[in-house]
Symmetry: C2
Subunit: 500 residues, 2 copies
């Protein structure tokens, strides 16, 4: 498949043409320019004082007195701003408001107040302030404080809010940390398809897709029904059977009507699939390591320039966030079986330690109230719950045969429950025995035809493997202590909600 015909001998250009190349290469318009430094760059790679400097950004606050004007300039690359000191204040254009796009030329100087450095603009140093983009009196972001709910109604402007901007920087940092974590663990980042002909778990409402022009003619672009994926796991298993350690971070889609603060119709899902794994505790241990690597990176970056959330929230919230991160790192996370979890919950209910809407019996699914109580109040820490009842889980999970009293009734799976949020990760060993998998599919009365390709993985070179999935926004919501999941994704999509 690799082209051997690339190295043809090409005709050499004639002298005339060669001359033209030289002409183009040396003409002044061809001079290339670097990007001008951003605020984060200026504050990271600090110039010597008394050098001229250009700063571009948006005004985040301004103060004008009789003899001097102060402008704070931010550009979103860090939570910090650069203070510009303008003398006389008449050098300041009249239409400066919060949010105005400006370019300031001045002298980089040692600060006189709280600021270590500031920019001096005055008549004698030929400094000036240029307005690049004015703002209207009615621009909502002139006010610095709005409710999160209101900001969601102005998606084209809301990320200019400083707290929300910090969350997007945070999102970027968490992703970058995950990329480097998986790289260090020798995983291959891969990209399963979003368009699929099969419904991974038979669970969840699907979005159907079709080419606009085919819709008119009642034809099918792919020659069959096609849907947006709800989980890439089955495809990821294909790649795992070739590369052993694979992961992805990819959009998934669920056409759920539920309008809660922790559901989205389009969300990003982290999924990992690992070959040559024998026991579910290898998966729980690995996912614990993954999350701790993210938290450790965040904790080490308290004074970082980039995504630093701690410095953009009030003191009380910062303390909550620090406490949460410390809790996550403080010790090894406990692991209990589903059967033990049910017993703990029943004992707590029976001894009136806690009240729930339902008292679960073995075989019931754990409700969100139970999950949050287990992690938040009982363990006060993340906790893995393993080995759920077979009937509660998907067809591909490995049935436990060795746990004597539960033989054949539970599966080798886990959920990671965390305080305040409940389920953050779900994973399992995958049944890799062809006959056992077929039996289970049959027992459930499922149609094997659309799963034939998946079954083939078990026909040849099938090895023990397992994996897990984690809603990326759920993780971000938890680590950033954000109440509504719609505030950790740039353009949230949900039922009747596709604003722009």
């Amino acid at each position: 498949m690799l082209s051997h015909r690339l190295k043809k001998t090409f005709t050499r250009p004639t002298r005339d043409v060669a001359h033209q190349i030289r002409r183009f290469a040396t003409k002044p318009e061809a001079i290339k320019l670097d990007l001008s430094p951003c605020v984060r760059g200026i504050l990271t790679d600090v110039q010597d004082p008394d050098t001229p400097i250009d700063i571009s950004g948006w005004v985040s606050s301004s103060r004008i007195s009789k003899n001097v004007a102060f402008l704070d300039i931010k550009d979103g690359t860090t939570y910090e701003g650069i203070q510009c000191v303008i003398r006389p204040p008449s050098l300041l254009p009249s239409d400066i408001k919060n949010g105005t796009g400006v370019q300031v030329k001045g002298i980089w100087s040692e600060g006189k107040g709280k600021q270590k450095y500031e920019v001096h603009v005055n008549g004698t140093n030929q400094g000036n302030v240029d307005v690049l983009g004015p703002v209207d009196e009615l621009f909502p972001m002139i006010k610095s404080s709005h409710s999160a709910q209101y900001l969601r109604t102005i998606p084209e402007y809301r990320w200019r809010d400083q707290s929300l901007a910090a969350i997007l920087r945070f999102r970027s940092q968490v992703e970058t940390t995950l990329v480097n974590f998986f790289d260090s663990q020798m995983f291959i980042k891969t990209h399963p398809p979003l368009v699929t002909a099969s419904d991974c778990e038979g669970a969840g409402e699907l979005f159907k897709i079709e080419s606009s022009s085919k819709l008119k003619n009642d034809e099918q672009f792919f020659g069959k029904d096609a849907y947006l994926t709800v989980s890439t796991q089955l495809h990821l298993e294909v790649i795992c059977a070739a590369l052993s350690r694979v992961w992805t971070l990819t959009p998934c889609f669920r056409a759920e009507e539920s309008d809660t603060n922790r559901h989205l119709s389009e969300f990003w899902m982290l999924e990992a699939e690992i070959a040559f794994v024998d026991h579910v505790s290898q998966l729980t241990k690995f996912s614990e390591k993954m999350i701790k690597s993210v938290v450790k990176n965040l904790a080490d970056d308290h004074n970082g320039m980039g995504s630093n959330l701690i410095n953009t929230v009030d003191k009380a919230t910062a303390q909550i966030m620090i406490d949460r991160w410390e809790m996550l790192l403080s010790k090894d996370w406990d692991s209990i079986t589903y059967t033990e979890a049910i017993k703990i919950i029943q004992d707590a209910v029976d001894s009136k330690l806690v009240e729930f809407d339902t008292r679960p019996i073995w075989g019931d699914s754990l409700k969100s109230e139970h999950e949050k109580w287990l992690a938040g109040k009982y363990f006060k820490n993340p906790v893995f719950v393993t080995d759920y009842p077979l009937e509660e889980k998907a067809f591909y999970m490995k049935i436990n045969e060795k746990i004597a009293e539960e033989a054949g009734t539970t599966v080798a799976c886990f959920d990671l429950l965390v305080p305040d949020i409940g389920e953050l990760i779900g994973g399992s060993m995958r049944e890799h025995d062809l006959q056992k998998l077929k039996n289970e599919i049959e027992r459930r009365g499922m149609d094997t035809t659309p799963l034939n390709w998946y079954l083939k993985l078990r026909e040849n070179g099938s090895v023990p493997h397992g994996g897990f999935g984690m809603g990326f926004e759920r993780l971000l919501q938890y680590l950033s202590c954000t109440e509504n999941i719609r505030d950790v994704i740039p353009f949230p999509r949900s039922a009747r909600n596709c604003l722009c």
Copy 2:
């Protein structure tokens, strides 16, 4: 939006319950296990000889003679395998074929032949070979060499081909390098939506989406028509107007019927958007730096363990790849205007230097034959072509006013043309003046209503900015010298092609 109510005082567990926690924490089943080392890990973090070792993987070749058997074990984490030397050969199970999943226990030993290390399995050291997953006589991957075309018909197995597996490792490495490049340039990685109510450029066929259950009732999940994005640029501009430097790597969709070796219906697109940019040459310079950072990383990794493509192809192909990478790094890339490009092509045609299907005149689009010739034969290097005719490009591009003879007829944009492939990147300055943008939209007879949110960006704090987009698979195809784009994405989707 940050919760202040997280730090409630929870009831402490009763003594009974606390006892249970301790019990769970110390029971043997709760012992957690690390992943067992992968082949890449074993070869990177080399053990002392004469230590026992477990290796899991798939048989990539085997050779049995009278006194000894050799097995080469690979697990896809690197192109390298580990040789196992088995004495007597009777220790080898009878059903070993290429592709069989095995676990080998033996002694890590210094190699006697070409291998620096090998694993000795013999009766005295209690070594053995366990079959984890046998393969059928009919398993196609028993044969090590198949055509790329045939492999595409068996998507569930094809990544077990060693050359294709190397491409997926390569893909992962290129993405990781890009993540770290953008991070070093202080860009925020972000995630614009895939579900959108607007069609970015009015170009390209769209996929329409709807909830399966709503389709039955003729209702709309989002309360309006919704499509899969063809480019995230417009949404990226929203985030750029808050964070200055943003990028994304995200799936995009085009319902094109064209069945070529360089088109996909679902592909990954890298898009970047940069505020406070004044000239298109800042964008070309930056994108040159981006690609060179990837190539430099690949070139530095000739002997790397992970994605190393060079070591999985034959010598001739390896040389082509090395030459290409060297060419990309060898010098600054030229930049010419569209007008100059037309003149070069016309001169070459008129002087019979080259023959094309069409001789373009000013105003025509450059065809693929022209693009490939310019980069591949004329410049023999990547070349930027800037300032295309207004009528050839999208409504949001900034119209050139300062180039005297072309005032108002060209836009501040660029395409990066590379040898053999043609267009790899397209970008432009974006019109940030509200009135000029509105005029152009009106002149084109477009409906402004669906673009109101986009126009609002220009109403407040609008600043000069620009950006570009690059098909990720196109880059991979080019750097890996792969003829068909379907071989650089795990599950290619195109018209009548959604195999599993």
